[in-house]
Symmetry: C2
Subunit: 333 residues, 2 copies
């Protein structure tokens, strides 16, 4: 691996000149420039980016913390982050935490050791360890999709979760559903609360209430949606619609209902959330809320970029719009 020094020797100039010839060609004489370029070509020189980063004090890497890359919604968000990052000269260090606090903290620490210039957290935990907490204030940090519990001091890019849930439940009510159950996520999750609040908004507006037995919590996985549906099937009074807080649980629930002989949407309507690609291919296709996943990722990266460059954020709390996607899994009475 050749260095700038070898190139300088080869060209018969100083290392400073080589550096200049490559970075600001107009600062060196045309003749010198040619000599340098020839030497570069001859030696196969590639500037050592690691050294460059080191002396500039920036790694040009950002860590993205995600509970699970294999989740199709998150992977779309990551795609968005990656696109924007690459355009801005940054690379993504993938921090798949697998729900482990230790792994999460290990990745977060990279923000403290100059391995990463900033962090994007897609989960709802404050990622730094107790002992890193004090220093963490200096690390550019953006939350996306979720919000850190008990703390609203960080920039967030998220969906209008409350509005989206309200719109969905309103739609279900308008289309004649009388009794709506919900498969939610973990109760501690801020977005789960927002969505529940949106649901309540819609129910209250119609003078209805969410029955306690119609609230079942899952963990956003298909098996948990399946289990939740089974739980609903035990009820003496079945709901006529089920609103799931993500598409995967909705898909799991549909499988459970079908296995039990119910027809969708004739016997029960099912609605999801996210609009992952598969939701257009279920049978029947899933009514859902479209989240602009890539845009959320891009905006989060854009915000992080501003933070990393000491630019003020126009919108520390960015709320992106949802879209109601009506397909065959919900009936119109």
């Amino acid at each position: 691996m050749s260095t700038i020094r070898m190139v300088s020797k080869l060209a018969g100039v100083s290392t400073a000149t080589v550096s200049r010839a490559l970075k600001d060609p107009e600062l060196v004489a045309p003749e010198t420039r040619l000599k340098v370029m020839a030497a570069v070509k001859e030696s196969g020189y590639r500037p050592n980016q690691l050294a460059k980063n080191f002396s500039s004090g920036r790694s040009y890497n950002v860590v993205v913390l995600v509970p699970n890359v294999a989740n199709p919604f998150f992977s779309r968000v990551i795609r968005g982050i990656e696109q924007e990052a690459q355009a801005k000269g940054y690379a993504i260090l993938l921090g798949d935490t697998q729900g482990s606090v230790e792994r999460e903290q290990e990745y977060a620490r990279m923000g403290l050791t100059s391995q990463a210039d900033g962090l994007i957290q897609l989960d709802r935990r404050f990622p730094f360890s107790e002992e890193d907490k004090a220093l963490a204030a200096s690390v550019p940090f953006v939350n996306a999709c979720e919000r850190i519990c008990n703390d609203s001091s960080y920039p967030v890019v998220e969906l209008d979760n409350r509005g989206a849930a309200r719109a969905m439940v309103q739609y279900l009510l308008e289309t004649g559903h009388k009794s709506i159950a919900v498969i939610s996520g973990p109760a501690e999750s801020p977005i789960v609360r927002d969505r529940l609040a949106g649901m309540q908004d819609a129910l209250l507006a119609s003078g209805l209430e969410l029955a306690a037995e119609h609230l079942v919590a899952g963990d956003f996985s298909m098996p948990s949606g399946f289990a939740a549906a089974q739980q609903l099937l035990q009820l003496s009074q079945m709901p006529d619609a089920v609103f799931s807080m993500n598409d995967e649980m909705a898909i799991g629930a549909m499988a459970a209902f079908k296995a039990h002989g119910l027809r969708i949407p004739k016997d029960i309507s099912v609605a999801g959330f996210d609009n992952i690609e598969f939701s257009g291919y279920t049978d029947p296709a899933l009514t859902t809320i479209d989240q602009p996943a890539e845009a959320i990722g891009r905006q989060a990266m854009r915000a992080l970029y501003q933070l990393m460059h000491q630019q003020p954020l126009a919108q520390p709390h960015l709320v992106l719009p949802y879209q109601l996607v009506i397909r065959g899994s919900t009936r119109v009475c």
Copy 2:
């Protein structure tokens, strides 16, 4: 951000002593060690990993090149890579190429500029640009899932694709199917060829042949599977089974068949490849080939690690076993 120098001042020792106290505590006097530790705590010192990496000449990052992170099969492979990498002290730089040669080359170049110590390619292209080609030989490189076309000089971790396709088609024949169509991937892809060869193996063993009109190429996406099925529906002589080279195309195909009023598997059997999680939740659930995606990722990272540490590879060409997963989308006559 405090440096080792500040800590050394604070503790009244040299920077070398601080470095030693942190790295090899037994090399310094207990008393000194305590002073250093106190100073570390007081200053909130975190060793600058970027500086460390720079002087060691290693970044402890590896680039993973993937056509699309949002593909559930690839994201599982990446999870495997990530697990193994973290265990070994490496981090993943996510190179989502989005099929763009330029993006791919930009990421590959990181191997030449010390931003990454090695590369894992999940696609079938040689990732370096023409001008980087000569230097690329020095970059540790592993291929997984796919193989570089026209070149077998790189370590590969892959499935027994031929055997898997043979097993699936054999199963379809054994269960009474007489006419099997295939939805393949791009014809240039080595694994597509392997799988086609496996299919031919099974057909030939039964004295059958693959009819030209029963070979339709997709691009591994659901819409392409849908389109392929529509094409098959035009045939005067429909096949009684369709083998798709991944689950997503199979899911797309199922949707098309159903839209056309066909019942699966009564009117036509459908089989996939990969065993992504969704394949267990389609209606009917999809018969498929299970690929050990995480294991492929882990093995690829293990091989890369050996390459990066100048250790010889016991198996430059590692072939992992498939498993036939029989579910409801294929009928037993």
